[in-house]
Symmetry: D2
Subunit: 390 residues, 4 copies
Amino acid sequence: MAIEAGKTESRAPKIRLGMVGGGAGAFIGGVHRMAARLDGEFDLVAGALSSTAEKSVASGLELGLDPARCYGSFEEMAEKEAARPDGIEAVSIVTPNHVHYPAAKAFLERGIHVICDKPLTSTLEDALKLKAVADQSKALFILTHNYTGYPMVRHARELVESGALGEIRLVQMEYPQDWLTEAVEQTGAKQAVWRTDPAQSGLGGSTGDIGTHAYNLGCFISGLTLDELAADVHTFVEGRRLDDNAHVMLRFKGGAKGLLWCSQVAPGNENGLKVRVYGAKAGLEWVQADPNYLWLTRLGEPKQLITRGGTGAGSAAARVTRIPGGHPEGYLEAFATIYTEAAKAIHAARTGAPVDPAVIYPTIDDGVKGVAFVTACVASSKANGVWVKV
Amino acid sequence: MAIEAGKTESRAPKIRLGMVGGGAGAFIGGVHRMAARLDGEFDLVAGALSSTAEKSVASGLELGLDPARCYGSFEEMAEKEAARPDGIEAVSIVTPNHVHYPAAKAFLERGIHVICDKPLTSTLEDALKLKAVADQSKALFILTHNYTGYPMVRHARELVESGALGEIRLVQMEYPQDWLTEAVEQTGAKQAVWRTDPAQSGLGGSTGDIGTHAYNLGCFISGLTLDELAADVHTFVEGRRLDDNAHVMLRFKGGAKGLLWCSQVAPGNENGLKVRVYGAKAGLEWVQADPNYLWLTRLGEPKQLITRGGTGAGSAAARVTRIPGGHPEGYLEAFATIYTEAAKAIHAARTGAPVDPAVIYPTIDDGVKGVAFVTACVASSKANGVWVKV
Amino acid sequence: MAIEAGKTESRAPKIRLGMVGGGAGAFIGGVHRMAARLDGEFDLVAGALSSTAEKSVASGLELGLDPARCYGSFEEMAEKEAARPDGIEAVSIVTPNHVHYPAAKAFLERGIHVICDKPLTSTLEDALKLKAVADQSKALFILTHNYTGYPMVRHARELVESGALGEIRLVQMEYPQDWLTEAVEQTGAKQAVWRTDPAQSGLGGSTGDIGTHAYNLGCFISGLTLDELAADVHTFVEGRRLDDNAHVMLRFKGGAKGLLWCSQVAPGNENGLKVRVYGAKAGLEWVQADPNYLWLTRLGEPKQLITRGGTGAGSAAARVTRIPGGHPEGYLEAFATIYTEAAKAIHAARTGAPVDPAVIYPTIDDGVKGVAFVTACVASSKANGVWVKV
Amino acid sequence: MAIEAGKTESRAPKIRLGMVGGGAGAFIGGVHRMAARLDGEFDLVAGALSSTAEKSVASGLELGLDPARCYGSFEEMAEKEAARPDGIEAVSIVTPNHVHYPAAKAFLERGIHVICDKPLTSTLEDALKLKAVADQSKALFILTHNYTGYPMVRHARELVESGALGEIRLVQMEYPQDWLTEAVEQTGAKQAVWRTDPAQSGLGGSTGDIGTHAYNLGCFISGLTLDELAADVHTFVEGRRLDDNAHVMLRFKGGAKGLLWCSQVAPGNENGLKVRVYGAKAGLEWVQADPNYLWLTRLGEPKQLITRGGTGAGSAAARVTRIPGGHPEGYLEAFATIYTEAAKAIHAARTGAPVDPAVIYPTIDDGVKGVAFVTACVASSKANGVWVKV
């Protein structure tokens, strides 16, 4: 191997972690647990893993948790863990969207750090209330826009920041999937049921579930702030209660423009997140399914394929790279990077030390922006595509 | 080779061809001449190749034309060739856009078939007038939306027609280029100068030059008709007089939707035409830079890579395939296919025989639609993205 | 997500793990630790992490190990851990090759399961002696030919087993890298120094380090057994003491043939492991750098791109798949799968329960075959490429 | 378009061309005719297109040739055309291999230039005799190793010549196909019948038909000369009379090494010609199915994707590039380039002018090398893979 992999373990004591949601049948809970384990910074010690007390406890036992710390509800967990001397220092919230606000509030108010799945909340009102809570709390709030953890995404952002692309003109985002091409929610598939239920998901279907990821990532890489958007949000599958496709035109502050397409009804796309950024001097392209590559074309030079761990990947990528080029890292590694960035901030918070300025994770503000984006998409579309300020 | 290539030559006498435009320094004229030669159906015998009489004649001599048939203007060529017993049967018009209308009119009115570059005209008014002329003429009008000549594009269209995709929901078109990222028209580059000049190009810059191609191709493959669009058309390069980027949301008749992005300022994109079509049962994707491949995913089956000349390519593709799979055909072959389809129609017209119904080429109606598309994009954008019926 | 990810955690108590090698500056030690952590089945509790007692202990402390279990040598660790009631149940051996034999022997003889990096040993003599030890021991021996842990590799093997390819005719293996294109071992780079040192690596340079991986993988997927080989093994870089490139022609029992190319001097190849298998009815191709894809072409059908987690991936892949299609898994996940397969076998061994027959991991026999392969390559090459039985 | 395409037409009178072979049911004849037409330098005026006089004349008429110049045999054509004041200046020989020698001899001896398909002849004896004839003749001999006509192949060669790769160490060639996976020659498929018939093809099956292409291309790009080879040549399909797969290890003069694999029984490979060259400073890779791309990695720099017509393609590629980057050229264009290079040499020969030194085409010497390569492969394999000097 050309590269000696960085040490991935720290000597700090592991962070005691709880989890809300993520019981049997869940998808993202398992992902969070693997992400929390990979770099060895967290120890899962408590859980309120399901929506009923009984299933919650059963799921906790299944994971080998101490029965005393398998709680029937997040309220109970928040209260009891806060009271323990060895109580959890952080909690992962991996429930359907509508639970994010009350759950996060319960922990933040008790000074327990929150690592929360996206979108932030199911309504903009909740998002703003949660921001107020987070701003008041000493605890940290980390939103798992996990795609920002990919090394090549970090490198893309670093390239933009360095001026390598010149003034940014265009940010093109797309996130097509195909898993809701048919009305699978009517067959009872758990992932589909809650994601297409306004009461659990909020205003947005595809816009909330994946549009927010694409939007977050476009902003993360380009460093731009959205000014206004015009959207055509649509539901193709009969009987579906939330959107499954959206076309959005964007105007960023400073004059850049963009398009965003998200879809859950595009056969052949498993998880087709892709971001392209074009400036006056260069363009770049990153595709989530092949995340170890970043295409960069500087005007007047041949196209370059920059690889994670390879020549041409800069320090921002190297910070979050575990293994040499050619040995692919994937989705779980990027997700784990969000956890490990969070761990670095939590370690610092233990002692009041300053956080390494290189540490990056999505915050409550990114979360509010995401919910505002969904809200604006829906509003624009209802007004037949009028431009809406965000 | 697994496949015995079809005979590409016909026994019919070659079609006597003239050309308007395409003299020294032109790009597309040489392309038309190679396309006309490849399958051996045409004989270039006359030309009015440049905008001045002197350059016109010089260019004709350079190509080895009979000096007596090197004309100073298209008007002269139309008149004199129409009077010759061995006069041209067809003419290729490869000038800047604003000349298409008067030149095509001059030949159509004399019963000479016209093979014309796109976009049809520089204004919608000219387009409609030309349609009236063409509808009156016995001569054929062929528009060189050359990308419709690719075998895998034909196969994509055939798949949609066959119902393999189910009801079409989405048509995503993009056509990014990067050659106008800087203000190269200010350096005098001939291709850039006329393409950014409203007097020669018309209302649209990128929208007219490449947006029309993407739009035509999306409609060609999907079989859909546009209902309305909302556009954000923009010029990024200071001092440029026509648009160099456009974002367009589309609504097709019957409920399908789409996005179209065209750009000439996207570094890293040489000629990035791409069309994706998604239906209720399958999705497909075709990329012009790799034209021998068509991706097809039927819901619930693995992704297929269908290759030109390979198993899985159907009869519509086979009709226009020259060589076996794995031996790539390119842009000139697709362009030549438009010429050869035209030749088949012209051969039939000689005797009044019916044209083989499998013959496909873009018509004056496609041309009118293209100019209407550009006009609607510009109108929508001026009205801040309001939906405009096409 | 279309797929509900399988539960990755078991309820069984974690396996107490020790590690030999893998201290500061090592590459593969960190990989083993991440792999052991990902699925939560192991707990690293002891180590003899370096070649000197002092560095060994320092490295252990750095990892947060109990100081009492940071040992100065593997001999000490074997002895003391075997004596503890809570001693390690398994040990990972991640040293240079020449240490594998004595270290593995020390643990196997004490009934401690061994998870050992490849190649098995630095000499065939050691390999055979180690096999004798392993065969005598009740403890398990797992060799980390980690590439066999990739889901699409498992699927490839399953396809061959199912007869989908018909009788296998060809197995083409290649593993080019570029990190030794220059004499980096002369600059002191630790990874390069020991890998090019016959005393630490054994007979083979590129053949041992990566050729064994390619060979193992070709056999794993095809199910074939090598009969004989003819090799041209070479050192391109001046002063290098072991081979950095090898060309090998192979003949398998039953009549199939193959080529194997391994190289450390091929600029542009980071870690280019690739295996292609062709039978009378179909062919398949897998590339390690893009591990979530498997190309399958059944004769007379279009090429298929089968994706991990997607339609078309069978049960052997699903067993070792953590997350849905389109969410890429990488090198660490495949490595972790070897650990988790080992864990399943160790859990069974605790109680004497039978191991799930679906569990697969590389064994001591695979290791002996790998060393025999290297030995035969070198012997054939020394005899100017004569065919050598393996 | 960023690039103004070069003028493709010359003013010189067209070259009068005859053709031997290429009648009904042939594949490569049609390819030669398209190649001869594309750039407008040739005029096909005579033919002896089939193996019987009757079919020969019928095929000529079908192509619209003057009935007086549709000959029953190549001998007749050579004699009669040589006697005409407007007789052919050049002839394309596109028959099965065993006819190459007598046909080429007949025309060369009459001072008619020969453009001949590969491999040169069916035996090494014929090859050497033909070389003697060609050396004696004033007429030119051009061998259609058409893959050397691809612009990116020219660029690869230019890069090597420029020293960009440093000293060449490795040349890896492969050419897998799948069209003979089954015994299609037993179904009467014309292309398969003669290619598997020793009397018509010569000693080699896959080695002669495609191995020679791969070998020629590897030498063309690398500039190296083969010293010796060791081969394992095999026939997998029962009843087949010539090889359908070969594995070859190569040693070049000067110390470089290589592997060559050719196969006609590798399902999933339509026409998988690929060449990789590695030197001490850089590596490159070119794949025929995607011919507009060349991968170049300079040690210590990111991988570059150089495109035909794009930035980074040098003058050797530009000479033979017809259209801008992103507008793919294919197999026929590369083939046409061989014809057009030949035309340039023939134009010069008309007047005795010197040929532009930039003109490159494969010669009789390349042809002899190809037949020697096949002969050596077969000899080595018969001697169980002993190294054979070429």
